[in-house]
């Protein structure tokens, strides 16, 4: 009996609970059997390269896509069976703009507030509040078509908050924005989390963003969660330090470094070799002792640092997040060209 009670309490504490969620598109598995939970009041992040399945996951949680398999509950409501309750509980900022740009900023917010059934007074008060939060008061009467990218993003965040959601989804909230705007949006997100006590789940492929904002981060690659913990714990998994060595020819050096007993993990990215080690400052002298002429390679530079999420990502997926992106950029270019041809 005892166990059941505890289980029930746990359930109410979790704002999001996902079990074995899977999405297939014509046989292609975009999200592969993922399970996780998000606590009340938490900022939870999904970090992953393009095509990892982040947006697909969010769309399933937001009731816009039907899962192929598995279960998900938001605030205790099932995303398949209790769509309307789920929709009432969530706010969402999509990866691509979802504003009516023939309406003004104010009208977009008003439209949203009415759709979510806010009464006249609440509407008026809340629109002012959220506009203040994202500092768009004096742009409220301008058509959205005349907004900059950053202003549109801020308006969308404001809109996502209009109806006092319990959970806010932010799909790549700062994609393509300049660093200054990005930092401002980070501040809004933190403010929301603290002032309005909103649980936030965001996706990103910026390491700093996940590190700075998220209490816990799930690393997602090819539709699978390959690691999930606090940024600090994730970095601790690697333990100690990272030594990055620029070397030529790297293939040869790689074979040799691999044999050292003090190297916990090794990987190579072009001419840079990364070693995960304990007490890095003591290992650099060991590296220097190698007779480079005899070994047949030349060390060009050595860099010692604490692991970042970038290193964690490399550790778990065997590639940098930018590797995945290069091919995606190619893909984007192709679709762009495709569009012009039409």
């Amino acid at each position: 009996m005892q166990i059941f009670d505890e289980y029930d309490i746990m359930k109410t504490l979790f704002m999001i609970r996902v079990e074995n969620l899977t999405k297939k598109f014509n046989g292609f598995t975009a999200v592969d059997n993922i399970s996780f939970f998000v606590n009340k009041g938490e900022i939870f992040g999904f970090l992953g390269p393009n095509g990892a399945g982040k947006t697909t996951t969010i769309k399933m949680l937001a009731t816009l896509l039907k899962p192929t398999k598995g279960e998900a509950k938001i605030c205790g409501f099932d995303v398949l069976k209790e769509k309307e309750n789920v929709r009432k509980s969530i706010g969402i900022v999509f990866q691509e703009p979802a504003l009516d740009n023939r309406l003004t900023g104010f009208e977009n917010l008003d439209f949203h507030a009415r759709l979510y059934g806010l009464d006249k007074e609440t509407r008026k008060k809340r629109i002012e509040e959220v506009l203040n939060l994202v500092e768009l008061q004096d742009k409220a009467k301008i058509l959205v078509i005349n907004y900059s990218g950053g202003m549109q993003r801020r308006l969308e965040i404001a809109r996502g908050l209009m109806h006092y959601p319990k959970v806010l989804f932010l799909d790549e909230p700062t994609l393509g924005l300049d660093p200054q705007t990005r930092h401002r949006i980070w501040d809004y997100i933190l403010q929301l989390n603290q002032k309005e006590k909103i649980t936030i789940i965001l996706t990103t492929h910026y390491m700093e963003e996940a590190d700075y904002l998220c209490q816990r981060v799930g690393i997602i690659d090819f539709g699978k969660i390959v690691a999930l913990d606090t940024p600090q714990n994730l970095k601790n998994i690697l333990g100690g330090d990272v030594i990055s060595i620029e070397v030529f020819p790297p293939e040869r050096a790689f074979e040799i470094f691999k044999t050292f007993s003090w190297v916990k993990k090794i990987n190579r990215c072009n001419s840079i070799i990364n070693l995960n080690v304990e007490q890095g400052e003591k290992k650099i002298p060991l590296l220097m002792k190698i007779d480079q002429k005899e070994a047949g390679f030349e060390i060009k530079s050595v860099n010692l640092r604490k692991p970042t999420l970038e290193d964690v990502f490399l550790y778990f997926t065997g590639k940098t997040i930018r590797d995945g992106e290069a091919s995606q950029e190619e893909k984007n270019k192709m679709t762009m060209r495709g569009r012009f041809r039409r």
């Binding site: 816009l64 929709r87 979802a98 009516d100 023939r102 439209f111 009415r114 759709l115 979510y116």
Partner: protein
């Protein structure tokens, strides 16, 4: 719950109206084509010309105006229905789809907005045609004509929503215009009585719902028709209901 649906319909209507009133060029653009038809075709036949199949003494402009009115309603309604596709393209559809409201209420709201804007355009065309010399039988006939315009509007907006829900992107848009909308217009008997079609073409005209819309408009505005008034009404009512149901159903199944 009920009031929530009404609010949804209202807010969708409001959005449609705001966008419509702001798109001045769109209003003028959609009025221009029917106006040119009235001017070029309507005045091309002089009053002495008698149209086979039409009662003698009916001036061709008077015969043409209801047809052009039907055309205005058709084009305006189809473009509102298909505008679901533009919402898809510009992402706004996601905002609508994720809201905690009934999808059929969203479709009804779009229909309410679309019918209003189409009626405004239809009435403007009617007023323009009065200046060109069009003569209505009497004022009640105008009320009856409004009813027909309303039914044409509902049916074709529903049809447009249904088509748009099945399409992925805006690529097929011009294809739909050329191979669906124009044939519906051309086979509706807007230019001459349907009985003037050769026998093998007539079934197509009879299958075209706009035929009954134009016939109903003609019957109410100039007192000349081929089918009984109630037949026109019943067929348009059935067509309208079917399309609203079909449009709502396909729209509610859209995944984005």
């Amino acid at each position: 719950m009920k009031s929530n649906n009404l609010e949804t319909i209202y807010v969708m209507w409001l959005r449609e109206m705001k966008r419509f009133l702001r798109a001045k060029s769109r209003i003028i653009g959609t009025l221009l084509l029917p106006f040119f038809f009235l001017l070029a075709v309507g005045s091309g036949f002089n009053s002495g010309f008698s149209l086979p199949g039409a009662p003698p003494g009916v001036n061709y402009l008077n015969f043409l105006v209801p047809g052009i009115l039907g055309m205005t309603m058709l084009f305006s309604s189809m473009s509102t229905g298909i505008s679901v596709l533009w919402d898809k393209e510009f992402g706004f559809l996601k905002e609508i789809m994720v809201a905690p409201v009934k999808r059929f209420a969203i479709v009804l709201g779009r229909i309410a907005g679309g019918v209003t804007t189409a009626l405004i355009q239809g009435i403007l065309i009617l007023i323009l045609s009065l200046f060109l010399g069009f003569k209505m039988v009497n004022l009640p006939s105008f009320i009856l004509a409004l009813l027909f315009m309303f039914l044409i509007g509902i049916g074709f907006i529903g049809f447009g929503v249904a088509i748009a829900s099945k399409m992925e992107d805006t690529q097929g848009f011009s294809l739909i215009m050329q191979f669906v909308v124009f044939p519906i217009f051309l086979f509706s008997g807007a230019f001459f009585p349907v009985i003037n079609f050769p026998g093998w073409l007539r079934p197509i005209a009879y299958l075209d719902p706009l035929t009954y819309g134009v016939d109903g408009l003609r019957s109410s505005l100039i007192g000349f028709s081929q089918f009984p008034l109630f037949l026109d009404l019943i067929i348009l009512l059935i067509f309208g209901s079917l399309m609203v149901i079909l449009g709502s159903w396909l729209f509610s199944k859209t995944e984005i």
